[in-house]
C-alpha cells in the first residue's frame, strides 16, 4: 500500500507519545530553519551573492514542505473554520501571555532592542487577533472575507485591510513600502 500514498502529504495517524513529541519538535526545527534561510537570502543579496540567495530561498521552501508534512502528520491541518479558531487562539496566547511576560523580562533587564522587537510583534498580533475574529464570523456562515487588499509593514509586521497609512503607526516606516497581498 506504499504506492497510493506517493505524492500525497503524509497523513494524520494515531501516534506514540514520543513520536508525537518528536514530530512537533521537527516542525519547530523546520519552521525556524525556513525563516532563517529567508533572512540569510536577503543578507546574501545585500552582499552581492544573488545565486547563494536563490539557493537559500529554494532550501527555505524545501523546509516549508517538511513543516507542512509534519503538520499534516500531527493532524494540525483542519477545515478553514478550525484553522481560523486555532489562529485566533495562537494570537491570543501571544498577546495575553507570551509577549506580555517577555516584555516584562526585557524591561527588567533593560534590553532595549529586545523591547523593540517584542513591541513590534505584540502590536501586530493584536491586528491579527481582531482580523481573525472578524473573518471567523464570516466563515462560520460560509462567507469568504472581502476582496480588499491586505497590506503588511515590512519592518514591524503591522497588518491592515485596505489602503496603507502614510506612515506605519507602530514603527514609522513609510506606507509606500508596505507589501500588498
Amino acid at each position: 500500500m506504499a504506492e497510493p500514498f506517493k505524492n500525497t502529504p503524509p497523513a494524520p495517524e494515531a501516534k506514540g507519545e514520543m513520536t508525537a513529541q518528536n514530530v512537533a519538535a521537527a516542525l519547530a526545527g523546520e519552521s525556524q530553519a525556513s525563516q532563517k534561510y529567508l533572512a540569510f537570502a536577503d543578507a546574501a543579496d545585500a552582499e552581492g551573492y544573488p545565486n547563494v540567495a536563490r539557493l537559500f530561498r529554494a532550501v527555505a521552501y524545501a523546509e516549508s514542505t517538511h513543516a507542512r508534512n509534519h503538520l499534516s502528520v500531527l493532524g494540525m491541518i483542519g477545515t478553514t473554520e478550525e484553522n481560523l479558531k486555532a489562529a485566533f487562539g495562537g494570537e491570543t496566547f501571544e498577546i495575553d501571555e507570551m509577549y506580555a511576560a517577555y516584555m516584562a523580562v526585557a524591561k527588567l533587564q533593560s534590553n532595549g532592542s529586545a523591547q523593540t522587537t517584542i513591541r513590534y510583534a505584540d502590536s501586530a498580533e493584536k491586528d491579527h487577533q481582531a482580523i481573525y475574529d472578524a473573518v471567523l464570523k464570516g466563515v462560520e456562515g460560509g462567507q469568504d472575507c472581502g476582496t480588499d487588499a491586505v497590506r503588511v509593514c515590512p519592518i514591524c509586521g503591522h497588518t491592515v485591510i485596505g489602503g496603507a497609512p502614510d506612515e506605519c503607526p507602530v514603527c514609522g516606516t513609510a506606507g509606500v513600502y508596505f507589501k500588498e497581498f
Binding site: K15, G16, L55, A67, R68, Y102, V105, I118, Y120, D144
Partner: protein
C-alpha cells in the same frame, strides 16, 4: 538593483538592532522566534486549505499574516545576533543541517519505527533525505563564498511533495517520493 539596495538601507535603519542580551531575555526571544516561525509556516499551509475550500480571500489573508510573522521572526533573529555575513550564515546553515542529518532525524526515525508510526516515518524520511542534499549544497556554496565568489547561475528545483532539492534541472521523477517533474518548483 541599486535602487533595491538603497531602499533596503533606508528600511534597515528602522529594524531592531543586535544587542548584548541577558540570558533570560535571550531565552524569551529564542522562544518567540520559534513561535513566530511556526505561525508563519502554519498560516501558509492554512492559506492553501482555505483556497481548496473556496475561500480565496481568507487564503490571501493567511498569506499576508504569514509574511507579518516572518518579519517578526527576522527581527527576533536579528536582535539575537543570528544574521551575520553570508560565509557565517552558510556555516550556521551547514551545522543545522548536519545536526538534523546526523542526530535528530535518525533518532526520530528509529522511534517512529519502534512505535509503528508509518506516516511519521515517511515525513521524517522525506525530510532527512533532503537535508542531506542541503548539507552538500551549503558546503559547496560556503567554499565559493569564502573565496569571494558567488555560486554558478543555475536554477534550483525543489519537489513540493518531499523537499528534494537539486541544483540544475528537475528529474522526470523525484528519487525520494516519486512525484513527477511538474511538481517541482523552480527558483
Amino acid at each position: 538593483m541599486s535602487n533595491t539596495i538603497s531602499q533596503e538601507e533606508a528600511l534597515e535603519k528602522r529594524l531592531p538592532k543586535p544587542e548584548e542580551l541577558n540570558p533570560m531575555t535571550k531565552e524569551s526571544l529564542a522562544a518567540a522566534f520559534a513561535g513566530e516561525s511556526q505561525a508563519a509556516e502554519k498560516y501558509l499551509v492554512w492559506a492553501e486549505q482555505a483556497e481548496d475550500e473556496g475561500y480565496p480571500n481568507v487564503g490571501k489573508l493567511f498569506r499576508a499574516i504569514s509574511f507579518a510573522e516572518s518579519r517578526h521572526a527576522r527581527n527576533h533573529l536579528r536582535v539575537m545576533g543570528g544574521i551575520n555575513s553570508t560565509a557565517e550564515n552558510l556555516l550556521a546553515a551547514f551545522e543545522g543541517e548536519s545536526f538534523e542529518v546526523d542526530e535528530m532525524y535518525p533518532a526520530y526515525h528509529e522511534i517512529a519505527k519502534l512505535q509503528g508510526n508509518h506516516q511519521a516515518s515517511r515525513a521524517i524520511t522525506y525530510a532527512l533525505k533532503s537535508e542531506v542534499d542541503h548539507k552538500g549544497q551549503y558546503t559547496d556554496a560556503r567554499e565559493a563564498v569564502v573565496a569571494g565568489e558567488d555560486i554558478d547561475d543555475q536554477p534550483v528545483n525543489v519537489c513540493l511533495a518531499c523537499g528534494h532539492t537539486i541544483i540544475g534541472d528537475a528529474p522526470d521523477k523525484c528519487p525520494y517520493c516519486g512525484a513527477g517533474k511538474e511538481l517541482y518548483k523552480t527558483f
